[in-house]
């Protein structure tokens, strides 16, 4: 099948109708719930802090961007580690992935910031924040890449060996080009998680989106008015990315 045959079908009327009905249903639940709520919205107080929200959102994007790059590098390194025959590297990689994936990010942030960063005299909480997020996401990305490498059939590698390719050439010309395409969709999904997970950096006073919303709440005592824009803001960034992830998935599915 050609790539172009796998393009997203243009939405037909019944799809649109169903999407509309679902949206209406959810909207009604929210309208009903809010109508039961005895709460006076004071948007004006929060509106005054709109620039603060935007700055916070900008910082979240910057943190996520750098974390994505560093975590991809870490993930690649430890994916190779998990495939390595050099046992110390192998065990270190396995250990890293299991520890990070098995413990809450909240605890990792606290331990890293108050214990490790402190001991190594790293003062900049933004650098620390990027390092923590990268270590965290790196473990997941490592698993994504490792699974990608494992998805390349053993027969392909045997063929590559029979043609006289070295191990390095097998990775360079056979494995990586295929793995890279296959992992793009889950990688985009991981980026969505990364952006939301960065909100936890608020506990070490990194002035990102969530911390700014918390501060606005503290200034204005308008809890919902502070946090609802937060949800909308995250959704505005994450929705296009997860949409992109789905498109990539369709585009590359012809490979298999």
């Amino acid at each position: 099948m050609r790539e172009s045959d796998r393009e997203a079908p243009s939405p037909c009327p019944s799809t649109l109708l169903n999407a509309f009905l679902v949206a209406l249903f959810i909207l009604l639940i929210f309208i009903f719930s809010f109508s039961r709520l005895e709460y006076d919205f004071h948007w004006a107080g929060v509106w005054a802090y709109r620039a603060k929200f935007i700055r916070g959102l900008g910082m979240t994007l910057v943190l996520s961007f750098f974390s994505l790059i560093v975590s991809f590098l870490l993930g690649s390194l430890f994916a190779l580690g998990q495939k390595s025959r050099f046992l110390p590297f192998y065990f270190f990689s396995r250990f890293y992935v299991e520890i990070i994936r098995g413990t809450p990010l909240l605890v990792q942030i606290l331990v890293f910031f108050y214990v490790i960063a402190d001991a190594f005299r790293v003062q900049n909480r933004y650098v620390t924040g990027v390092v923590i997020l990268s270590l965290f996401a790196g473990a997941y990305i490592s698993e994504i890449i490792r699974a990608g490498i494992d998805s390349i059939g053993e027969t392909q590698l045997e063929t590559a060996r029979s043609l006289g390719l070295t191990l390095f050439q097998q990775y360079r010309f056979i494995i990586f080009p295929q793995v890279f395409k296959r992992i793009l969709p889950p990688l985009a999904g991981q980026l969505v998680s990364l952006i939301k997970d960065s909100s936890l950096l608020s506990i070490i006073s990194v002035s990102e989106f969530t911390l700014n919303a918390q501060e606005v709440n503290a200034y204005t005592y308008s809890t919902l008015e502070s946090y609802l824009p937060l949800a909308v803001g995250y959704l505005l960034i994450t929705y296009p990315i997860s949409n992109l992830s789905k498109r990539l998935e369709r585009t590359f599915s012809y490979e298999t």
Partner: protein, 243 residues
């Protein structure tokens, strides 16, 4: 080619897949290996291809012993063309690129030179129209012919085929067998593992029956297919030729 196998033993998970195989063949052009699944055919072929290292025994091909150290094995593999059951084309490369990759990366061809060589082979196998297609767009028979072109491209000293038609729809079998037959007539030495008994009979000048890891029958195609003496061989042929 000359093939000397002595005391060859290969063990997988404590099970002897090949036990103490010995063979001395002078001047064979095409050796066919037949036998039931799990009998050790593919294992023997992979050892000859330098893809597996036996626990015991040696193989000498054309006066040269197959090494056991990886670096030397890689050099040895470069001199052989192998075709697998499931085509094993690289799915991210076009037909032409599949042929060019070993030429440019292993055998030191320039890109243009490799492309010309690949295009020449594709033309010869009537695949010119498919040169720029990825394997997913080719039929099974076309894929296998590209795989054969890739194996032939490096001018190997001999060719190995591991059940090259087993994964094909029957309609594509003959186009692949035609190519193999053509290569043999051209004078390429080959070793072929197959379940196509009719083809084995025509193409071989020596045949080997492997069963439960031992050579349970060996001889000219006439000895093996027309005049089988060993009980196990007779039973095997009865079964595969029943329908």
């Amino acid at each position: 080619m000359k093939l000397d196998v002595s005391g060859l033993t290969k063990v997988f998970d404590g099970k002897k897949v090949l036990s103490d195989i010995s063979l001395h063949l002078d001047d064979i052009r095409s050796l066919v290996i037949i036998g039931p699944s799990g009998g050790g055919k593919s294992t023997l072929l992979r050892i000859i291809a330098g893809l597996l290292v036996p626990e015991e025994g040696t193989i000498v091909v054309n006066g040269q012993a197959i090494p056991s150290e990886e670096r030397a094995l890689r050099e040895y593999r470069k001199t052989i063309g192998m075709v697998f059951q499931s085509y094993n084309l690289f799915p991210h490369l076009t037909a032409a690129e599949n042929i060019m990759l070993p030429l440019t990366r292993v055998h030191g061809y320039g890109i243009d030179e490799a492309r010309m060589h690949a295009m020449g082979l594709l033309k010869r196998f009537q695949l010119s129209a498919h040169a720029e297609k990825k394997p997913a767009l080719l039929s099974g028979g076309q894929k296998q012919r590209v795989a054969i072109a890739r194996a032939v491209a490096v001018s190997p000293s001999f060719l190995l085929f591991d059940e090259p038609t087993s994964a094909l729809d029957p309609e594509f079998t003959s186009e692949v067998l035609d190519v193999i037959e053509e290569l043999r007539e051209e004078g390429k030495d080959l070793i072929l593992v197959t379940h196509e008994m009719g083809f084995a009979k025509i193409v071989s000048d020596y045949a080997l029956f492997l069963d439960e890891g031992v050579v349970a029958g060996a001889g000219t195609p006439h000895d093996i297919f027309e005049n089988p003496k060993e009980d196990r061989l007779v039973q095997f042929l009865d079964k595969v030729l029943k329908y």
